[in-house]
Symmetry: C2
């Protein structure tokens, strides 16, 4: 790919009845030192570094060096700065989304404000896809925009997947896998997490810290969550009575089951099954 031949080019298109828009572009930032400083952007952007050197300062003040193959987010509500080595020939692709997608992705843990920088390396394939997306936004008919939006999402998902694969090679990943598998099953019985850690030669307190840092929630809450996931699954099967599900999942009573299910999902088990509001 001949970066010198690529030209500065950006397109934006609004979708839907609200004020949401998507954007995509290639930007060259030559001779500039400050790109964004203490910026607090109202939109959600993924920036992919094609060339150049720079630095990203996140909302906590942590500094992340940037070079070819890195990507970073500008996130609505999170102050950040990014600086460029002026003569490094900075060239970036970007994909822009509205606030709502950020809200959804953040809630789902797909995007985390404490991980604003990732690395996938330089990928000619992804570059081609973004280039195609830029030209799609330029020429898209109105009825092609929902498809174009989904295409932006699918490129975004490539970043998530590739960066994910990297993170799973980390030293703690295997421990985390085993712990999740232990915590995510055998709901009929009470678990002894301390004994489990001991057996595997892990310090309990250190384990808890790593678990929380990596998954964003505590081991105990994780277990409840998997139990609720299993409840959802069983509720979709009309062969199980709600009482039976409570027993199967180790609740001391259907009332305890109902209360916890409601606390986590906002609705009762029956309401989840029938789709009816039971206030």
């Amino acid at each position: 790919m001949d970066l010198d031949r690529l030209k500065h080019e950006t397109y934006y298109r609004s979708l839907g009845g609200g004020n949401e828009r998507i954007g995509a572009g290639l930007m060259k930032k030559i001779g500039r030192r400050v790109d964004f400083e203490n910026a607090y952007p109202p939109y959600f952007v993924l920036v992919y570094v094609l060339r150049g050197e720079g630095e990203y300062v996140d909302f906590k003040g942590t500094r992340h060096p940037l070079s070819v193959g890195d990507f970073f987010y500008r996130m609505p509500g999170f102050i950040h700065s990014n600086y460029i080595v002026p003569e490094s020939g900075w060239t970036e692709y970007f994909l822009e989304f509205g606030r709502n997608i950020f809200t959804a992705f953040r809630e789902l843990g797909v995007v985390r404000e404490d991980r604003p920088v990732g690395r996938i390396g330089f990928s000619a394939l992804i570059c081609e896809e973004i280039a195609a997306q830029i030209s799609l936004l330029r020429r898209a008919e109105e009825d092609e925009l929902p498809g174009a939006f989904m295409k932006s999402l699918s490129i975004f998902s490539e970043f998530i997947k590739r960066a994910d694969m990297k993170s799973t090679q980390s030293a703690d990943a295997e421990m985390l896998r085993q712990a999740c598998s232990y915590l995510g099953g055998d709901f009929k019985n009470k678990l002894n997490l301390e004994a489990f850690c001991l057996k595997n030669g892990w310090g309990y307190e250190k384990f808890r810290k790593i678990f929380q840092a990596k998954t964003g929630i505590s081991p105990g809450k994780y277990r409840v969550r998997r139990r609720i996931d299993m409840a959802c699954q069983m509720l979709k099967n009309p062969n199980y009575k709600i009482n039976e599900i409570a027993v199967e999942l180790g609740y001391s009573s259907p009332y305890e089951f109902s209360a916890q299910f409601k606390r986590f999902t906002g609705i009762s088990p029956l309401s989840f099954r029938t789709g009816k509001n039971d206030k």
Copy 2:
């Protein structure tokens, strides 16, 4: 695909720090007439009909027949019912998402509450993808879940794209294309939409109605939106001064430009350019 060999199977997995989860499954509903009645689901589901006959009643009371190759939504906040011909061997795949994705998709016009039923026909490829997704949810490690979520979205996007292609074959599509192209350009000059309609042999009032129904907004608002999109694009190019952009886009003054930009995006043109809050 031998539907008789497929078994009832559903999986749910929570993601992130909130209480959002995704689900996928195959459901067989035999001998049942009422599936959901006046349901008001708290989640967002896409249901794809693999076999059987039925009917969907949307929040306005409009009835939509359902058969193989149709899909429909259960949308949070929108009451609906769906009925099944008991002996039709009803078999469905479903993909479930949380509320946040629905909010984002609805705001973007990707999902519209006034189009809760669509048709893509029976697709063995999509069936395979959903089947793979079901088994992925069953066995996914925690660090695979963001990727799994994106995969659900990409399957969802196939429905959107295929159903879109269908809608663009409608009789009004060509008129809409021409109108969008007319309204979406030449911002320096005032347009005469009535004359444009006349020239093309379209009744002005009828045109406005169809435009509003198909795009969800009026022709005038559509034009402003495209103008704001163009403003975003030009603001990303540091070679343009904000005054120049105002002139280029036909605003009578930079103040008028600023005011309209702010009304649509929530921020000033300068703030969009720099990412800084300028209150």
